[in-house]
């Protein structure tokens, strides 16, 4: 039941504005976060810093409605610099209500789509890595921060290969090595193996962070383009186990869908 509900929410991606359905029932006080005198989380408190003076990014975050579903929501019509074939494919995906969406098969959203869905994710900072645990499809992503370079000939994957470094107080994550099947967002903007994503994680205060996302994929877009997704810290809650493949009913529905 539960998985069915979530799977449908994730896969019937006509949902351009996925509603918050996560973890309402789960309340465990988050340890060590700033609180106001009445015990409520103080989301306007300053950015916490780690021992090396950089902002702490760790914690449970949830994409604000901002760009969820449609990465280009805040751009004007015509501002996504599609290559002609990519625009035609995007239009076809919209006209067919995203019936070919790979996440209907419970495949991960990849990058940047996993930043742009209505499910929370937990950022961990460990030696040499930043790790993101996504509620969506119960998947994870490793971002290597040990100084290694992006591989020259990576195995093409859905999440790609990510390395991160600090520029001042901004964590800059570069990702390449994607396969050519990824959708940039639920709406179905195409990407190819040439995709290179730059994410800039900018924590603004305790409760708010922006991810500035630059899409550079010369096969699908005539020039790089940039959008910003706001994230909200999620206090006193936790990731739920989202097992998409349990009782996935999508394909019972899809025959009547997208026509």
């Amino acid at each position: 039941m539960h998985a069915c509900r979530i799977t449908i929410a994730a896969t019937l991606t006509a949902l351009m504005t996925t509603a918050s359905a996560s973890a309402q029932w789960l309340n465990h006080p988050t340890a060590g976060i700033p609180r106001t005198p009445d015990g409520k989380p103080d989301l306007a408190a300053p950015v916490p810093k780690s021992a090396n003076g950089k902002p702490v990014l760790a914690g449970l975050w949830r994409p604000s409605p901002g760009l969820t579903g449609d990465i280009a929501r805040n751009l004007k019509p015509g501002e996504v610099p599609f290559q002609p074939w990519a625009e035609a494919l995007y239009k076809q995906r919209r006209a067919t209500s995203s019936k070919d969406d790979p996440t209907a098969n419970c495949i991960v959203g990849g990058v940047p789509r996993s930043d742009l869905v209505g499910y929370p994710f937990k950022i961990l900072e460990v030696p040499g890595m930043v790790v993101i645990l996504y509620e969506a499809v119960h998947a994870y992503r490793q971002i290597f921060t040990d100084g290694r370079e992006l591989p020259k000939d990576p195995n093409p994957t859905w999440f790609g290969y990510s390395v991160g470094h600090w520029e001042g107080d901004t964590l800059v994550v570069l990702t390449t090595g994607f396969n050519d099947k990824g959708w940039l967002d639920n709406a179905g903007k195409p990407a190819t193996e040439h995709l290179r994503v730059t994410e800039r994680f900018i924590r603004k205060d305790f409760g708010n962070m922006d991810i500035q996302i630059t899409i550079d994929d010369p096969k699908a877009y005539t020039k790089p383009w940039t959008v910003t997704q706001p994230l909200a810290f999620q206090p006193d809650t936790e990731l739920l186990e989202y097992i998409c493949n349990e009782n996935n009913r999508y394909f019972d529905l899809v025959h009547d869908f997208g026509k």
């Binding site: 029932w25 789960l26 465990h28 340890a31 060590g32 760790a58 790979p102 098969n105 419970c106 495949i107 991960v108 961990l124 900072e125 460990v126 030696p127 040499g128 890595m129 790790v131 645990l133 119960h138 998947a139 994870y140 490793q142 040990d146 290694r148 195995n155 994957t157 859905w158 999440f159 990731l239 739920l240 186990e241 097992i243 998409c244 493949n245 349990e246 996935n248």
Partner: protein, 254 residues
């Protein structure tokens, strides 16, 4: 293709052998090496700042236990009769009802007893395990919280950990009743409680002693010990099980 190969290996598991990541070689930074640059797996176990063994790294369970976690038990398992019957049925039908045939996660302890590596991370208030299998993860809370009294039943359950000397003790409950404890199909129920004791013996070797306490399926608790081997200069690969999954149509049990 890749997912297909891996799924077949996981599900048709009679003689699964590690077939992962042979092509992927990135030197693991900061590990002890011998004079010729090879990883020194018999170096002492590293410690974290608080003096406890550092369990972090990529690990793989030794082959003999893959599939059947009871492989080297001398005594028969203390099955409840219905659980013995169900196990016999699952063996006779070659695991055709195996939930991982649909790319569902293996859960606990099964995710440890498969031929795919996993990465242990230590972070504030938690130990996290990233599993290559089905690209999934598990959180083990180490901030002192008790196990919840009325958890949402999950495949991975709910896990809390604490240190008992140099042994990391993880207790899990809150499982759903669909679990297979291993690829062979030893049953678990919602009454399942798993205790895992992780002991790092040296740099390259760790043991996890697993105690299964599930009074609905077994008449008394029983335990097994799985040896884990550190995987130097390797990395998890992206195991995307539902991509081109050809398994379901082959799950006929003949």
């Amino acid at each position: 293709m890749n997912a297909f190969r891996l799924i077949l290996a996981a599900v048709l598991m009679s003689a699964a052998s590690p077939a992962f990541a042979q092509w992927f070689k990135y030197p693991t930074p900061g590990i002890p090496r011998t004079a010729d640059g090879k990883p020194n797996l018999s170096a002492p176990a590293p410690k974290t700042a608080d003096g406890k063994p550092d369990l972090s790294g990529v690990w793989l369970t030794q082959g003999i236990y893959i599939g059947d976690i009871t492989k080297d038990r001398k005594e028969p398992l203390p099955f409840q009769p219905w659980a013995a019957d169900l196990y016999k049925y699952r063996r006779e039908t070659q695991g055709k009802d195996d939930p991982t045939g649909w790319c569902v996660v293996g859960g606990v302890p099964r995710s440890t007893a498969v031929p795919y590596p996993f990465k242990i991370l230590h972070t504030t208030g938690m130990v996290v395990i990233l599993y290559e299998a089905v690209h999934s993860y598990r959180q083990i809370f180490t901030d002192g919280r008790p196990l919840p009294k009325d958890p949402n039943p999950q495949w991975f359950g709910y896990s809390v950990g604490h240190w008992d000397g140099d042994t990391f003790v993880v207790e899990s409950s809150g499982f759903n009743d669909n679990a297979w404890l291993d690829n062979f199909g030893h049953p678990g129920t919602e009454s399942l409680r798993v205790t895992e004791r992780f002991r790092r013996k040296d740099f390259g070797h760790m043991e996890v002693q697993i105690t299964i306490d599930d009074p609905k399926a077994y008449t008394k608790p029983w335990d097994v010990t799985l040896p884990l081997v550190y995987q130097p200069d390797a990395e998890l690969i992206e195991y995307m099980c539902p991509e081109n999954n050809k398994d379901v149509v082959h799950l006929v049990g003949k």
